[in-house]
């Protein structure tokens, strides 16, 4: 029995997609008997996980051969017409042997703010350990500690080391300081990669805590294969026993609107602060930025994960649950002094200038339940209407109420490292990430500003376009 993907984040034909597969071959004992099934550790399509830790008990359909083996060729099977592939990269993951030995520890008790606050003092306790563990601590808080020993690796190669801890921590391997965070109240998971030849090396870990609300935790993981392997005792860093129940939002029979911060392209540095997500019952959704009157991203599938906003204090943000196609940021409508003038950039610090751009909010359309956005730009009244069609395309109508006579008004439709026009008239944006097709209005133009290509349209009247991805 095959296993269906968790969702379908596939893009429209003709656009480049990204597939990332982590596969582990079946394992066999010395007698050649299979002891573990093959498994997909994960499969991500366009950044969305579609298979997560799935075993493959039998060869899949139409295999190279029917006898399972520990090693074999990769085969890509096509179906339903032509398929183009590019940029195939692979990494052979090998679980390296890593072990700790000769472990000793020292502990100190007191309110330390830095590692150097205690390393010069006589420790309160010390001894040897058979495994790395913070269970040697006698107090739950106000402690300093150090652990020393030998780390032995079986192969030459890069080793990703992960130090997970409460309080402050430092990791030194072979006299190289890899991690150093000195604040007594952290709850951290820091990682560093070190190139080692097969052999044994000294290592040191320092950990101190001055935060009574956090339990003592210290974990050291190494990752060479698909997932990290613990090098510490289970109870030194046990799994979270109170995992968070996610808060997932989907539209019902009517469109759903939710204001939230959006981390544009998933990046906190590009957090948009006056955004609204609009989920449509048809399963095609978008986020609109009310601070600039701009359509920021579109996607298919489930609507948003509001856990980051509504769990505990929350951080005010949500995450699109499908493969979000981010468009671009900032105000798309502007008078430009010349056609080489960039479109305006609005930062988080900027206050509204009511004489320039001013958002007026939105009105719920009676028959559809969808929002229609309104804003003023230098006195021009603009109505923004965004909705999906039956084919899952997003339609964007920009209705200009009182254009006036001032020349030089333009609207940015898209940007990317490349923009090209297809024979059918659509524009393929940003190395074929998505298409834009004008359905009403003037012919768009392509220009380059600061090394980025832009698709823009002169605005003399209302216009409309569709986005296909």
């Amino acid at each position: 029995m095959g296993k269906a993907p968790l969702s379908n984040p596939a893009k429209a034909p003709g656009l480049w997609q990204k597939l990332k597969i982590s596969f582990r071959a079946p394992r066999f004992n010395e007698k050649g008997q299979k002891v573990e099934n093959a498994r997909f550790n994960y499969v991500d399509l366009n950044g969305i996980r579609i298979h997560d830790n799935v075993e493959v008990p039998l060869p899949t359909g139409g295999p190279v051969e029917n006898n399972e083996k520990p090693y074999g060729p990769l085969m890509i099977q096509g179906d339903h017409g032509p398929v183009a592939l590019r940029n195939i990269k692979y990494t052979r993951l090998k679980e390296a042997g890593v072990a700790l030995s000769d472990l000793t520890y020292q502990t100190w008790y007191g309110n330390f703010k830095l590692i150097s606050d205690y390393t010069g003092l006589k420790p309160d306790a010390w001894g040897t350990l058979t495994e790395l563990t913070c269970e040697v601590l006698e107090n739950e808080d106000a402690y300093g500690s150090s652990y020393r020993g030998t780390i032995t690796v079986s192969d030459d190669g890069n080793y990703k080391l992960i130090l997970a801890y409460t309080g402050g921590g430092r990791l030194v391997v072979n006299n190289q300081q890899l991690i150093n965070y000195q604040s007594g109240d952290g709850f951290r998971r820091d990682e560093a990669t070190i190139l080692l030849k097969a052999g044994s090396y000294p290592f040191e870990i320092y950990n101190f805590k001055n935060a009574s609300w956090l339990p003592p935790r210290l974990g050291l993981f190494v990752q060479t294969g698909a997932s990290p392997k613990a090098l510490h005792a289970f109870n030194s860093f046990p799994p979270d026993d109170q995992p968070v129940s996610p808060i997932l939002i989907n539209p019902g029979s009517e469109p759903k609107m939710i204001r939230a911060f959006l981390d544009f392209k998933g990046q906190y540095k590009q957090r948009l602060t006056h955004t609204i997500g609009v989920g449509d019952p048809a399963g095609t959704h978008y986020v609109y930025d009310l601070k600039s009157g701009n359509l920021a991203c579109v996607w298919h599938g489930d609507f948003v994960d509001a856990t980051p906003m509504w769990h505990d204090r929350g951080d005010g943000s949500f995450r699109p649950m499908g493969a979000a196609q981010y468009l671009f940021n900032n105000q798309p409508l502007s008078f430009l002094a010349s056609e080489s003038t960039p479109f305006p950039v609005i930062t988080r610090e900027d206050e509204i200038n009511p004489d320039d751009y001013r958002g007026k909010g939105y009105v719920i359309e009676a028959n559809t339940g969808r929002p229609i956005f309104n804003y003023l730009y230098q006195g021009i009244v603009v109505e923004d209407k965004i909705y999906p069609d039956q084919q899952g395309r997003m339609i964007h109508e920009v209705n200009i109420k009182n254009r006036g006579a001032k020349p030089g008004l333009f609207y940015k439709l898209a940007e990317g490292k490349s923009i090209e026009q297809n024979p059918n008239g659509a524009y393929a944006i940003d190395d074929k990430s998505y298409y834009i097709r004008i359905t009403k209005g003037a012919t768009p133009k392509i220009r380059e500003v600061n090394g980025i290509q832009e698709l823009y349209i002169p605005v003399d009247d209302s216009f409309a376009y569709s986005i296909v991805w």
């Binding site: 006056h274 009310l290 005010g316």
Partner: protein, 646 residues
């Protein structure tokens, strides 16, 4: 005579007939519940009312906004017909809607980044226009909450803006974008006037007789919570917002550099990393906020300080009793909610030498979650909007809407306390028994203040016992003048009436008044000849009072609750702990089960380890100000609650 006047006249006649307390004859201890009852509004299963705003509509329906961005309109919230309240979703999808107000056929709500007007144009009971009145910048930090609005007399709106916190300096409030840490005044046409700064976490807003007040939450630069009278250009203490004081439209002319030249922000690094400033124990000459008034006239101290841990830990909504007596004997007075302690305090303010000041009392505890918002129903009950998500509270539910209803009985309370040139005048709801009221042993009073520093919160400092020189009870027994000769301006003066009884023998239900004495009024002092200076302890045989002595012997008989209570009250333990019931902190009886030694409990009072109680979300503050002798007695009493081994 209109209806309102008729009602008042009726009440007055009722009061004159029943000048005795109807419950006094019953042989039971009277509690808050005998006078004010909390009733819970049922909600359909799955509906989550994490309330951020409560508004009363002209037709008596109650509208609530929630932290999840919904606005519900509740019909028949008072359940007058014995039928269920009906909930209609008026609006949804708002960003952390922490306030709601009705004006001119629309609801106004502050979202994180804007003031929004919600209009139901087609009259189907659902908003169809979500109009941006004014949008302000925001950096996207979680703590950048925006509260309000409240409507100013000119019809414009007040909104308050929380600070963000640093990335590395996560303890330091900062204003990353313009007007965080400020109060804004926004007009209907979308123009914005920066009004005042110094805000840290200005959760509670209140319009009182046309004047704007807000309360702040204890934290960095705010030693305790307090209510501030916010005139234009006020600076209430948190420096973050001063970053924008140089802007053309700023009414504040204090710069951060000027302030930091007077008060060290203690922003320094060791080995390349910022170090969190902590309270300096036994600090010599700590900064006091009021002293900065000399350098900066725009400094505005709290009109009423709300001592942290006693009158709340995270103060919220400020409302004036506008029920004309339907809510009981405190018409015109002010009620303040508290999130962390799930309770409501009562405040009365007066203006002395041009500045507001006044008194605060405990009023009503026991709400099911944190009290964030209150408003009045047409039935005269108070609707309390509740949430505790992310912070925890004494009430352990995460959300809800409850009503506080007057039972019709008047409690024996201090109705108000006003400042006098030589002390205070206390007015009661019932005449006092002169024997107890003229006995100076019935009173205990002290004064103290809080530090102005960048560490989180402040212990009470500069504590001084107030010298009560004498008291004078008015003819009708309704008032008592307490004459004190060591009043200190800007200090919080705490007056406890442990022994005062009504003529019916009732103790004062909430027997401590917390008066913030910004100014001492001018005027004549009472001549000593008019004062009673009696002390029952001096007249009677000395009564053994084990409570006030240091006990070191463990063989002594355990104290009763009545004996330990004064110490628990004085040291504010009861703000978070009860004998047998979990509150903000664990029950004393649960602490007893841990079998700590007395000395260990004392250690934990001075340096708590909240990790010991992971199910309590609000960590206990260190209480270094508790005298060791008190701490030892409290510890011994806690341990006496443990059932003896069989």
């Amino acid at each position: 005579m209109n209806m309102k006047k008729k009602y008042i006249a009726y009440l007055i006649s009722l009061l004159s007939i029943t000048s005795f307390h109807v419950l006094a004859q019953l042989n039971k201890t009277l509690t808050e519940d005998d006078y004010y009852k909390i009733l819970t509004l049922p909600t359909p299963e799955g509906m989550l009312l994490e309330v951020g705003g409560v508004a009363t509509l002209p037709d008596g329906r109650i509208a609530v906004s929630t932290r999840r961005g919904d606005v519900w309109v509740v019909e028949n919230a008072a359940m007058i017909n014995g039928t269920q309240p009906k909930y209609t979703l008026f609006a949804s999808g708002l960003h952390e809607a922490l306030g709601l107000v009705y004006k001119d056929d629309a609801l106004y709500v502050a979202q994180r980044g804007e003031l929004t007007k919600l209009i139901d144009k087609n009259g189907d009971g659902k908003a169809d226009i979500y109009e941006t009145v004014y949008a302000w910048p925001i950096s996207g930090h979680y703590h950048e909450y925006s509260f309000g609005p409240k409507i100013a007399p000119d019809g414009s709106f007040f909104v308050t803006c929380n600070v963000a916190f640093g990335d590395e300096e996560w303890w330091r409030g900062e204003s990353r974008v313009p007007w965080r840490g400020w109060t804004l005044k926004i007009s209907e046409d979308g123009t914005m006037e920066p009004w005042a700064t110094g805000m840290r976490s200005p959760c509670g807003l209140g319009m009182i007789d046309g004047e704007f007040f807000y309360d702040d939450n204890q934290g960095d630069w705010q030693g305790t919570g307090g209510i501030f009278h916010l005139t234009k250009g006020s600076f209430t203490g948190h420096p973050a917002g001063l970053r924008w004081a140089g802007r053309d439209n700023s009414p504040i002319n204090i710069t951060m550099e000027q302030l930091y030249a007077k008060v060290d922000p203690r922003q320094f690094k060791r080995e390349g990393q910022y170090v969190k400033p902590e309270n300096v124990p036994d600090e010599k000459d700590p900064n006091l906020f009021y002293t900065l008034k000399n350098d900066f006239p725009q400094v505005r101290t709290a009109a009423v300080l709300l001592p942290h841990g006693v009158l709340g830990i995270s103060n919220a909504e400020i409302v004036r009793d506008e029920t004309d007596g339907k809510f009981g004997p405190f018409a015109g007075q002010i009620f303040v909610g508290d999130q962390g302690q799930s309770k409501i305090m009562r405040v009365v303010m007066e203006k002395v030498k041009g500045e507001f000041q006044g008194v605060a009392f405990d009023f009503k505890s026991g709400f099911q979650s944190g009290v964030l918002r209150m408003n009045w129903g047409h039935d005269g009950s108070m609707y309390a909007g509740l949430t505790n998500r992310g912070w925890g509270s004494a009430g352990t539910s995460t959300a809800g809407l409850q009503r506080l209803v007057w039972t019709g009985k008047i409690p024996m309370e201090m109705k108000t306390v006003s400042a006098q040139p030589d002390g205070f005048e206390i007015e009661f709801t019932y005449p006092v028994d002169k024997k107890t009221a003229e006995d100076l042993d019935s009173y205990f009073a002290r004064s103290y203040i809080y530090k102005y520093h960048p560490a989180y919160g402040s212990p009470t400092i500069n504590e001084e016992k107030l010298n009560i020189k004498g008291v004078k009870v008015s003819e009708d027994g309704m008032k008592v003048r307490v004459v004190i000769d060591n009043l200190r301006p800007y200090y919080l003066h705490e007056v406890m009436l442990a022994g005062v009884k009504s003529t019916d023998g009732l103790p004062v239900l909430h027997s401590t008044a917390y008066y913030t004495l910004n100014n001492i009024p001018d005027g004549d002092k009472l001549p000593l000849s008019e004062l009673s200076t009696k002390r029952s302890s001096a007249m009677a045989k000395p009564v053994k009072k084990p409570v006030l002595k240091t006990t070191s012997s463990s063989t002594k008989k355990a104290l009763t609750y009545a004996e330990i209570e004064p110490l628990l009250v004085k040291n504010t333990c009861v703000a978070c702990h009860q004998q047998n019931k979990r509150q903000v902190g664990p029950a004393f009886s649960d602490i007893a089960k841990r079998k700590y030694s007395n000395e260990r409990i004392v250690e934990l009072i001075y340096k708590p380890e909240p990790k010991n109680w992971p199910e309590h979300e609000t960590p206990m503050a260190a209480m270094p100000q508790v005298p060791k002798s008190d701490a030892l007695q409290i510890a011994a009493w806690i341990n006496s609650l443990r059932a003896p081994a069989p």
